[in-house]
Amino acid sequence: MESATLAKPTGRIEVEDKGLKKNAITFVSNVVIGVASTAPAYSLAATLGFVAAVNGLGVHSPAVMLVAFFPMAFIAAAYYWMNRADPDCGTTFAWVTRSMGPWLGWQGGWAIVVADVLVMPSLASVAGNYTFQLFGNSTPSNLDVTIVGIAWIIIMTAICYIGIELSARTQQFLLGMEFVTLVIFAVVALIKVYVNHPKHSIQPQASWFNPFGVSSLSALDGGILLAVFVYWGWDSGVSVNEETENSSTAPGRAAIVSTFVLVAIYLLVTTAAEAYGGIASLVNNQNDVLAPLGKGVLGSPLDKLLIIAVLTSASASTQTTILPTARTTLSMARWRALPKQFGTVHPRFLSPGFSTLWMGTVSTLVYVLLSATSPKNLIPDAFTSLALTIAFYYGFTGLACIVYYRRHLFTSVKNFVYIGLMPFIGFAVLMFVLVKAVVDYSKPHAGYAKPFLGIGSPVAIALLMIILGVIWMIVQRISMPAFFKRRPEVVDPGIVAASPAGRAE
C-alpha cells in the first residue's frame, strides 16, 4: 500500500483504501443479490399479462420465458468479460465508448437512462395498485393510483438519496418471503387445477414450453421482447458478484445458481398462473396479474401475502432502477460526457445525490404526463417501448464485448465460444427482436394509444426519447467537446491472460 506524504510534515493520507473487506459477501448473499436485482414478483406481475396478450402466442407464455432466457444469459457473458476488463459503473456507456467510440457510447448510456425512466410509470402504477389491493380496494380510481404511485417514487428516490441500504440479511429475509410466497402461490394453484378444476382452468401441457409450437414468428418475437424485461437487472447481479468476491470460482457459480433459480421461478409461476386462470384472466388483468389470481388461489387473508410480495419486490426493484441510473449518469459525468453536477456525491449521505434527485424528478414528470394523458394506454405503451431500449443497450453491450476483445477471439476455443460466439448470439437475437419489433410496433395500431404522426405509440415513444438523446448529445458535444474526441481502444492483453479462459490454454 502506497502512502502519499502531504505538504504537512506530520500527516499523511493513504491513497488506497484499506482492503479490510475480505469475503464480506457470502455465496448466499451473491445469489440473493443476483435474484433480487431482477425483482421476480414485480417483474411477473407487470409482464405476464402483456406476454399472454401478444397476438397468436396463446398458451405458450412459459416457452417465451424459456427462450428469452438464452439471449439474456449470453449477454450476461458479455457483462462478465467487459466487467473484468473495466469494472465501471457506467457499464454499457463506458464499454461501448471504449470499444466503439464516444458517440455510440453516449447513446448506450442514454438508453440505460431512458429504460429506467420508462419503467418508472409501470413500477409506480403497480406499486400504487397493489397498495390499494392490500387495503381491500380492488378498483381504485386512476387519480388515486397516480397519487400513491407518485408517493412511491418519492419514497424510493428518498431511500436512494439518503443511502438507506438494506443489510444483506434484511434482503435475504425479504427475498425469502417473496420467493416462498411465489412458490406457495404456484403450488397451491397447480394443486387446485388438478384437484378442483376451477372455472377457466386448463391443465398444463408439455407443449406450453415448446417455442416451436408458437403459431407465428412475430408472436414469439413480441413475447420475447416483453420477456426480456423479466430478466432485466440480472446482469448487475453478475457484475456485482464479480466485484465483491475475491475467489476465482465462487462468483461465477453464484451467478449461475441465481440464473437457474430465476428461470425456475419464472417457469413455475407462469405455468401456474396460466393453468389456474386461463389466458383470459392474464390478458384482462395486464397491469397486475397476480393480485386477482391470488384471491382465488390462496383465499382471504392469505392472498395478502402475494400482494405484500409484489409490493416488497416493487420497492426492491427501485434499487435496480434508480441506483443504476444514478450510477450511469455519475459515471458519464466523470467521463466528462455529462455536466459535472451529475458526478457529485452527497457530502453526508455519500449517494450520487444530484443524479438520484434528477432521476426521481424526471420519473415523476414522465409518470404524471403519461397518467394525465392516457394511463390505460400510454403506460403499457411506454412499457413496450422500454423493451426496445433494453434490447438495444443489451445488444450493443454484447457487440462491445466482441469488438473490445477482437484480437483475442481466435486464440483459443474457449475464448471464441465465451467471449465471441455467446455475446454475438445474444447481440444477434436481440437485434433481430429489436428490428422486428420496430417494424411491428410502428404500425399505426400497434400500441394501445392512438398513433402519433401515423407511427404506432410504442415506437413513437422510443423515437421521441432517441431524438431527445441526440439533441442532448449535440449540446454536450458543443459544451464539453473533449469526451467526443476519444478514440476506440481494445482490451489490455494482460487482462485476457489473467482470465480463466485465457489461462486454460
Partner: protein, 142 residues
C-alpha cells in the same frame, strides 16, 4: 500495551469536535492519531467502480481537511485513511489492527428517526467494540 487513537471523521460538526478531542487524547498519551473516513457502498444494482472513485475523492478531500486542522499541532504523529467498509466495523477493525487505546466518534447529530432507520454509527460501535469508545457531541447550546 495499547497505543494510538482512532477517530472516525466525515466532516460533520460533531466529527470536527471528535477530532479535536482525539487530538487532545493522543497528545496526552503521546499516541499516534489515526483519522479514518469509513464508507460503505450498496453492492445491489450494479457496478460501483466510478461511484467508488467519486466517494473516495470525497473521503480524501475530507481527510485532507482534517489533516490541515490537526497538523497545526506539532510533534503529533497522524495518519489519515479512507476505509471502504461499514463505519462501525471499519473503526473497530482499524482499532484492532493498531491496538488502539480508544475509538473517538462524533454523535453525528443524527436525528432520532434517521438513527432508527439506519442505525447510528456510535450506537453500533458501542455494541461491537471491545475497546473504550468516546462519543463527542457537536459544539453549541444543547
Amino acid at each position: 500495551m495499547s497505543s494510538g487513537v482512532v477517530v472516525g471523521y466525515d466532516g460533520s460538526d460533531s466529527a470536527k469536535a471528535a477530532l479535536l478531542v482525539a487530538v487532545d487524547v493522543a497528545r496526552a498519551h503521546g499516541d499516534e492519531l489515526v483519522i479514518a473516513f469509513a464508507y460503505e457502498l450498496n453492492p445491489v444494482a450494479g457496478e460501483l467502480h466510478d461511484y467508488h472513485a467519486a466517494v473516495k475523492e470525497l473521503a480524501e478531500k475530507r481527510l485532507a481537511e482534517a489533516l490541515s486542522v490537526v497538523s497545526a499541532d506539532d510533534g503529533l504523529e497522524v495518519e489519515a485513511i479512507p476505509v471502504a467498509r461499514a463505519p462501525a466495523e471499519a473503526l473497530v477493525a482499524l482499532a484492532d489492527e493498531r491496538d488502539a487505546r480508544l475509538i473517538v466518534v462524533g454523535t453525528q447529530g443524527e436525528s432520532p428517526i434517521r438513527s432508527a432507520l439506519l442505525g447510528s454509527t456510535p450506537h453500533k460501535l458501542l455494541h461491537i467494540s471491545d475497546r473504550p469508545v468516546l462519543v463527542v457531541p457537536p459544539p453549541g447550546p444543547r
